[in-house]
């Protein structure tokens, strides 16, 4: 569906995207993960031909993006960063206006169906300037969906939303994928969001690919990132440095110790510290993907 090959983009001396390659297959939800400023939006803008790459090429639906831009964009729906719309027009007018830019003729009923899909049919006549952030986000998604695209690109779709809004968007992504067979590229800096919706994912850091693969393969439930708070952290650190866990032990904050450990070894580690007169105040397993993500984006690159 999408093939990105050796894509790079520089702004002056700043390398925003560096030799990035990945593929999105038909029908999958592909998570595009990275911290703020990692190069996600720049990559998405290049995929949508909003900006030109310094080098590399992009193929979508088996066609070169720059040779057949309009034909490709006809089959893509996208929300890039914020869902900016015409504030002085109503939700319906906004959607109708963007629908007219499609090569397909889109009826009023289809526009209303699209608004109903994102739960805005009852607020269709209200001007966008009175919409909440969540409503604007949903209308932005409606703009991306109104021409029934095959490939949907959502750049940080849950940004600025409350928990209910985030859940709504997550459910919408899952529904579009499962019930309508859409291929979706969704970017986020929130690992939990990607973990819950994506089949595959790519993690980038400083414009470079860090890792790519199936989410269930990347998340190894056997590996845990433990956060330990003890009665004597300096001594606990010293004790751990004499064990097999020494290489994966670090001080994560002034009052916490972080240890990467196999799930079966947690009890042994706990006993070891207690036997050495260290009181354990708290022993917490961080989200495995989050730990994985943090370890990857803190400088260790995976080829």
């Amino acid at each position: 569906m999408l093939s990105v090959n050796h894509l790079s983009k520089s702004f002056g001396s700043f390398q925003a995207v560096n030799d990035l390659s990945f593929e999105v297959n038909q029908g999958e939800v592909y998570g595009f993960l990275g911290q703020n400023g990692a190069g996600k939006s720049t990559t998405i803008r290049m995929i949508l031909s909003l900006i030109r790459p310094t080098s590399g090429n992009i193929e979508i639906f088996g066609k070169s993006l720059y040779a057949e831009r309009e034909a490709i964009l006809q089959r893509i729906g996208a929300v890039v960063e914020k869902p900016d719309l015409y504030r002085y027009l109503s939700g319906y007018e906004n959607l109708s206006l963007f629908a007219k830019l499609s090569a397909n003729r889109i009826s009023k009923a289809e526009i209303m169906d699209c608004l109903a899909l994102v739960g805005l049919d009852k607020r269709a006549k209200d001007p966008v300037r009175v919409y909440s952030q969540g409503m604007k986000q949903r209308l932005g998604i409606a703009v991306a969906l109104v021409h029934n695209p095959d490939f949907i690109i959502l750049d940080e779709p849950t940004n600025g939303l409350d928990p209910q809004g985030i859940a709504d968007i997550r459910n919408l992504i899952l529904m579009l994928s499962r019930d309508r067979g859409k291929t979706i590229l969704v970017s986020s800096h929130l690992l939990s969001e990607i973990e819950q919706v994506a089949d595959s994912m790519l993690i980038i850091n400083k414009g470079k690919k860090v890792v790519e693969g199936k989410v269930n393969e990347l998340v190894n439930p056997e590996k845990l990132q433990l956060e330990i708070v003890s009665t004597d952290n300096p001594k606990a650190l010293e004790l751990l440095s004499e064990t097999v866990w020494s290489k994966s032990t670090s001080r994560s904050t002034a009052h916490r110790i972080s240890v990467e450990i196999n799930a079966g070894e947690v009890a042994a580690l706990n006993k070891y510290l207690v036997d050495n007169n260290i009181g354990i105040t708290s022993l917490r397993s961080m989200n495995s993907l989050e730990a994985y993500f943090l370890s990857l984006t803190s400088g260790n690159e995976v080829s």
């Binding site: 831009r69 002085y88 206006l97 090569a103």
Partner: protein
């Protein structure tokens, strides 16, 4: 079909924005005020203007008529209307960039050059609509309020009389010329809007360029003389050429004559070249522009 579709959309957006109507309101208000002023005190104004002629000529009839009124209004307003034109043209790209809708538009299957052409066409239609509005007020309302008669145009060292029957086509031609002049301003403002992410910048830049060029035009210094023919502002008041007539050996106006048609057409040509130049430059730049907004 797609082009016309986008033009329609752009016009819809222009005329749904409250700021669009500021220009129409301003024109109506200014013209109305000028008409009110002349209606109340026009006679004394004309007496003052004609005092150097009344010793040598016997001037009769409705001098302060609708035709002269329109001429006075256009002379006053066509210097300031560019600001009103820039209000919309300068917002066409930069306004979309500022509110983030430019990137939404460009994720849709439309060619960038088509979008630029459609946006320019829409801003041109707005410009012409504003000019027609001005024509209705300056000429139409003035004719209704002040009546019609021969048109007497006073200059510093001469006066030109144009027969009433020979005036209307001159106004039609003058408005066509004014449309070209204002479209030049629109094209400049539109071009500048490519480089900004708020509409204030292009509007201010357009007005600054017009003010600087106008000052250069009025400064009678040799160093600037060679520049003047290349400044588009030198040609913007070329519409007045349609009101310069030739006379026969009896010093009577030759109906349908224009004293220097070649100069008028030359000015129109220069302005037209500016429009084409700004538009082509806009398309070339926009096609390769990275949309970062």
């Amino acid at each position: 079909m797609k082009f016309l579709n986008i033009v329609n959309i752009e016009l819809y957006k222009i005329f749904r924005k409250p700021r669009t109507y500021i220009a129409f309101g301003a024109v109506a208000a200014i013209v109305g005020l000028i008409q009110l002023g002349f209606y109340a005190d026009g006679d004394s104004y004309m007496q003052f203007g004609l005092q150097s002629f009344t010793d040598s000529f016997d001037i009769q009839g409705n001098i302060m008529n609708g035709y002269l009124m329109a001429y006075i209004i256009l002379q006053l307003l066509l210097v300031h209307v560019p600001l009103l034109v820039a209000l919309v043209a300068g917002d066409m790209i930069s306004g979309e960039a500022a509110q983030g809708t430019l990137r939404v538009l460009l994720t849709k299957p439309i060619r960038r050059s088509t979008l630029i052409l459609a946006k320019f066409t829409a801003s041109g239609i707005y410009t012409i609509a504003l000019l027609l509005w001005m024509a209705v007020w300056a000429l139409g309302i003035s004719m209704l309020v002040f009546g019609v008669d021969d048109m007497l145009i006073l200059k510093s060292d001469s006066a030109t009389q144009i027969m009433a029957s020979d005036v209307m086509w001159r106004y039609l031609a003058a408005f066509v010329f004014a449309a070209i002049a204002l479209l030049t301003v629109s094209a400049l403002s539109f071009f500048l809007s490519l480089f900004a992410e708020n509409s204030i910048g292009p509007i201010m830049a357009t007005m600054s360029i017009i003010i600087v060029f106008t000052i250069l035009n009025t400064l009678d210094l040799p160093i600037f003389s060679s520049l003047k023919p290349f400044l588009f502002t030198s040609h913007m008041l070329g519409w007045k050429g349609f009101f310069d007539v030739t006379v026969n050996e009896n010093n009577e106006q030759i109906i349908g004559s224009i004293e220097n048609l070649r100069a008028v057409l030359y000015s129109a040509g220069i302005l037209f070249l500016h429009i084409v130049g700004f538009l082509v430059a806009s398309i070339l730049i926009f096609r390769k522009k990275d949309i970062m907004s």
